[in-house]
């Protein structure tokens, strides 16, 4: 039974925090598969709108939009290359001087671009609404092996530490004038004396961490899984429904490919 104060806490949490991490991951899978099943640009636009609403209602839209900058350049180059050279190009869309852009290529590139946007926004919903510790606790309670959970979570903790080391090294690089070199050979020669010690130091730290794990009896069979403090909205039902939807969507896509 839930304790009254825990129940109260669960009720006051925003809606997106009452959805478990696995449901959110399955939601990414469903939205991604749906974007691949849809072949109409307007339907894709509606799907983008749906993911935008998802982020808007969870109050994470602003921070998620930055992530789109990552793929914006690729989408633009796709529009350019496919608009010009797509093998099925026939209908002229517009021309800029001697350069002709075709409708078929532009539509194809726009369709691919929409899929990318759906994936980026759906993934951002997961990224912005879960925390590392929440994911770790939930996965272990869901039955994932503690070694796998530790592996996944330790990566999340080690990365900020390494990025901090990298920033220090990059600062040192700038102080030494690295990056100004014109030739590639020069660039490689200057980064190696920094990269090699950093890598060896990282491996050394990982060896120390492994020894600590051994000393703390990491492989002990007697382990107690910490109980979840939070409860989630109908998590089992969501898992089944989204899992089933994913299978149906995969079936649809395979059917479409066979009947192409």
């Amino acid at each position: 039974m839930e304790k009254p104060e825990m129940m109260q806490e669960n009720l006051t949490r925003p809606w997106h925090e009452r959805i478990d991490p696995v449901t959110k991951l399955l939601l990414i899978a469903v939205l991604t598969l749906l974007s691949f099943v849809l072949t109409n640009i307007f339907a894709e636009a509606a799907l983008i709108l749906a993911t935008i609403f998802l982020l808007l209602f969870s109050g994470k839209l602003g921070s998620s939009m930055k992530a789109l900058g990552f793929c914006a350049f690729m989408i633009l180059t796709m529009l350019l290359i496919q608009g010009l050279f797509y093998p099925h190009n026939e209908t002229l869309a517009f021309s800029l001087g001697a350069i002709a852009f075709y409708q078929e290529g532009l539509t194809y590139a726009a369709l691919l671009g929409c899929r990318i946007i759906v994936i980026v926004l759906a993934t951002n919903f997961f990224m912005r609404t879960t925390t590392i510790s929440e994911n770790a606790k939930y996965l272990e309670n869901a039955g994932m092996k503690y070694k796998t959970v530790y592996l996944l979570m330790s990566v999340c903790y080690i990365l900020p530490q390494m990025m901090q080391n990298l920033k220090k090294i990059q600062l040192a690089q700038r102080a030494r004038g690295i990056g100004e070199q014109k030739s590639l050979i020069q660039k490689f020669k200057t980064i190696l004396p920094i990269l090699i010690p950093l890598v060896i130091k990282t491996l050394d730290q990982s060896m120390s961490r492994s020894i600590s794990l051994q000393l703390r009896n990491f492989e002990s069979k007697k382990r107690t899984v910490r109980a979840l403090r939070r409860t989630y909205l109908m998590d089992k039902m969501f898992h089944r429904a989204l899992g089933l939807t994913s299978i149906i969507l995969i079936g649809c896509k395979v059917w479409m490919l066979i009947n192409k």
């Binding site: 992530a67 990552f70 793929c71 350049f73 690729m74 180059t77 796709m78 290359i81 010009l84 050279f85 797509y86 093998p87 194809y108 590139a109 691919l112 899929r115 990318i116 994936i119 980026v120 759906a122 993934t123 997961f126 990224m127 796998t148 530790y150 592996l151 996944l152 330790s154 990566v155 999340c156 903790y157 080690i158 990365l159 390494m162 990025m163 990298l166 990059q170 690295i178 990056g179 660039k187 490689f188 980064i191 190696l192 990269l195 090699i196 950093l198 890598v199 060896i200 990282t202 491996l203 730290q205 990982s206 060896m207 961490r209 492994s210 020894i211 794990l213 051994q214 990491f218 492989e219």
Partner: protein, 198 residues
């Protein structure tokens, strides 16, 4: 090279020992840092598989493949979501490096070059369908995509054009990463190598 005895552990063992559990996050971190280095210095290579190479060389193909897989999953969930699907490529790279290293493919400068070509081929074969599905065949690297555009404009099938685009970039990247990984491997203290190998 040392002769292998019958008691030598198989390279295909799937035992998540504390040594491997400590090594994999480090390998992912090295991938991140090396990639950031390459981007910061505007090098024409990714270098993002350096950690995977080292994990495979130190602990075998399976830990290498796991570190490659986790690298892309974490990268996908933190920076670039589409990178997640390229986890398949990283698994292929991890396995190829681990097998080639166990067979002595990194024992001389010439062998490293040949091994790098094989790894580039493995990487390109796995990446090409993904590039076609997600990016219409492009790789996102300007000069590789220029080559892709030229080939498609000359009526070369998209799959072949995309493979050429990917392979040309992969050759350069994997050759550089293979030599850098070997250089680092030679600097690693022997006790550390035997710790991760056991």
């Amino acid at each position: 090279m040392d002769k292998k005895t019958s008691s030598a552990p198989s390279i295909w063992r799937v035992n998540l020992t504390p040594a491997v559990i400590g090594l994999i996050p480090a390998a992912v971190g090295i991938n991140y840092v090396a990639k950031a280095f390459a981007e910061g210095l505007k090098l024409p290579v990714w270098l993002g598989s350096l950690g995977t190479f080292l994990a495979s060389m130190l602990a075998g193909p399976i830990p290498g493949a796991i570190s490659g897989f986790i690298n892309n999953v974490i990268y996908g969930l933190t920076l670039s979501p589409v990178s997640t699907v390229y986890a398949l490529t990283s698994i292929g790279i991890g396995i190829a490096v681990g097998v080639l290293h166990a067979k002595g493919g990194f024992s001389s400068a010439r062998k490293i070059f040949v091994s790098a070509l094989i790894i580039a081929l493995v990487s390109s074969v796995i990446s090409t369908p993904l590039n076609v599905i997600f990016w219409g065949g492009q790789t996102g690297i300007a000069w590789g995509d220029s080559l892709f555009a030229v080939l498609v404009a000359n009526h070369v099938p998209v799959f072949i054009a995309s493979f050429v685009d990917e392979f040309v970039l992969d050759i350069l990247d994997k050759v550089v990463v293979a030599y850098v990984a070997c250089l680092i491997y030679k600097q690693i203290p022997k006790k550390m190598i035997s710790y991760f190998k056991d």
